[in-house]
Symmetry: C2
């Protein structure tokens, strides 16, 4: 198995991008990654696209075939990979395996989604297509609904409070306000969304006990990375190469109700354990993490399941500032899904891009984690029924 390096990364600002098609967005992010990699004459051998909803939202399939032509990368191989909101992570995994296998040398991985094509319940319904058709979707359950029930159980079992969740929302929106690629660039305050009488209007309930500012926005966006074998990376790029030190992927029951303890996200634990084992490190070695905070509760739960905090301690740690820049383990310095946005197919790739910038030490003061060597991501598919985790290392 060959070591795989990330030699180029690119992202476009997430948000509402009515003027762009899905393939436009993927192409813009890909061109940035190709530019960043300074590949020169070297050809791209294969392209992977992470996308969940081209068929449903754009009535378009074979997105990877469209992209490879659009980028003039013919006759490179091209596949679209779908794994719900972890589609980007799954595309990345298969890109890494393609290089690791020795079959392909230069592989482009792009993730993108154009979700603002639909609004309101249609956006929620689109994501709910990943639920079990007979015993979940049929009864009207949605992802916010699941997250709400999960939060209530966490509150009752571990004493999680709304104040802890609000601390995460404030932290991530504050970081998003500094991130030029973020969809939401607005600072919020505890008074505005929790304490003042107006917070009932400012921050209405979405799925009790979760409120508007606990949820990520519905976004358009794309991100891309260029992979090659580590031994070729140093000849090809002027950047410090970033190595994919390890990754893991694990599945869990399709339905939440079948899990012995629904607050136990086994897939997050397993995926991150596989990644740590491959990388030969432990949670304490991670300097910066991008977790999948589609809802604030998920940042809490994932921060525990990947081993940063004991079970039930993640919310307290967030409230104490331990997950802020400068804290014990900075989480979602990008603003996370909460502020960067969550165009589902893009998210897993965007996390890799943000960690790569951290490990290259390229971010400005106020966003850069000092001396970051190891970074971790969690890309959460389904309601934790298909999760990927990557560990990157500054080479």
């Amino acid at each position: 198995m060959r070591d795989v390096a990330i030699i180029g990364v690119g992202m476009i600002p997430f948000g509402r991008r009515d003027q762009d098609t899905l393939v436009d967005m993927l192409a813009y992010a890909s061109l940035k990654a190709l530019d960043d990699a300074k590949l020169g004459e070297k050809a791209v051998d294969a392209v992977y696209v992470g996308n969940m909803g081209g068929g449903i939202l754009q009535h378009q399939t074979a997105i990877a075939s469209a992209l490879v032509d659009r980028l003039s990368l013919l006759p490179a191989a091209a596949d679209t990979v779908e794994n719900g909101p972890a589609s980007g992570g799954s595309a990345m995994k298969n890109g890494v395996l393609a290089v690791a296998s020795g079959y392909y040398d230069a592989v482009l991985v792009a993730g993108g989604e154009k979700m603002r094509e639909v609004t309101g319940w249609r956006a929620t319904d689109f994501v709910a297509t990943l639920t079990h058709p007979e015993v979940e979707y049929h009864y009207g359950i949605t992802l916010p609904g699941m997250a709400g029930m999960f939060t209530r159980l966490y509150m009752e079992t571990y004493g999680l409070t709304r104040e802890m969740l609000v601390a995460i929302a404030i932290k991530n929106q504050a970081m998003g306000a500094l991130n030029p690629y973020a969809h939401v660039e607005m600072n919020i305050t505890k008074e505005g969304i929790l304490d003042s009488p107006h917070s009932v209007v400012n921050n209405p309930t979405v799925a009790d006990p979760l409120h508007l500012y606990d949820a990520c926005p519905v976004s358009d966006g794309a991100a891309a990375v260029l992979l090659c074998p580590l031994d070729q990376a140093k000849k090809l790029t002027e950047h410090v190469p970033v190595v994919v030190a390890g990754f893991g992927q694990a599945t869990d029951t399709h339905t939440l109700q079948e899990r012995e303890d629904p607050t136990d996200l086994k897939s997050v634990t397993l995926a991150s354990q596989q990644a740590y084992k491959r990388a030969g490190i432990e949670p304490k070695d991670i300097d910066v993490a991008e977790l999948h905070d589609a809802f604030t509760i998920l940042e809490v739960a994932e921060s525990e399941h990947v081993g940063f905090f004991e079970k039930g301690e993640g919310g307290k740690a967030a409230l104490a500032g331990e997950t802020k820049l400068g804290g014990k383990i900075p989480i979602n310095v990008s603003g996370g899904l909460k502020a960067r946005g969550h165009p589902v197919g893009a998210t897993g790739v965007a996390q890799i891009v943000d960690i790569t910038w951290q490990l290259r030490h390229e971010l400005p003061k106020g966003r850069q984690v000092e001396n970051a060597t190891y970074g971790l991501t969690v890309n959460f598919g389904g309601f934790g029924n298909n999760v990927l985790s990557f560990i990157m290392k500054r080479a």
Copy 2:
């Protein structure tokens, strides 16, 4: 790079399967492959699903996550791979790379599609989602329409005749009539579909000069294979292991109109050349082939582009019986897409299953190619804009 063996295969009868969901079909085919592999206590590490239309046709995404739970293979990794009508081939490729990389030891690849959910123009429209949205789909072009124009050009350039195409239709339906998994099990005659006055009614024009019996049916179906490293295969299975000796994948322009010579299917040539090179063999070494005859014209064109016949000679060879069982190179002994059916996500995997049976010498007399050692497949995505070719070898 590790050599990859196929140690289990399974298929369900293609056709109209109203009683089954998409995941049902994938599960049935997968259980057959797992049974066939006799894996014993050994766990499946990863699952790949080839599927094009779950989102559009079933309003369901993350099919691989659903399947892995349904099969009780948790916490195996699971990804859905989409590449239009070559989704099965793309799933297979990524399964092969996953084993070749050394990362996973036992990988299940399942392909499936439930297309009879929609009928008439909706089925054609579904497949047309792979065309270029602005310069093709928008103007109403469909895959049968493209195939019709392609056929006319072939007739004018190479002297292809309807009689040659009819010979392929008759051959493939005759073989389908012997295949218990085939959707169409009906023999047809030259008189019935070409010569008699009734043929105007029996075999109406679909897209001039293509008629009804030039086209594959709209089918439901699924197929699956189990992969593992060759060095472990002999310990695990009682079957003769079949090795993936080589594969290739190549893309071409999204739109047919941009190709210098639209009758030149560069992607088929390139994909098969990559496969031959990896396998270290030449076209003359192939004993049996499954080509992607979504339309009879494609069997002609592919048989030339993979090097079995000179350009323009494929139709004459078919008419002369050279592609029949016992001929120079038996093509689509299964009945092909024409008779087995073409549930798009299933096709690429079904081709691998049929070739595996041939190379194991497991088929009954009248369907078995004597002493078959090498088999080749072509899985044709888009209108030739993303093609995969596999070469399997009896180990």
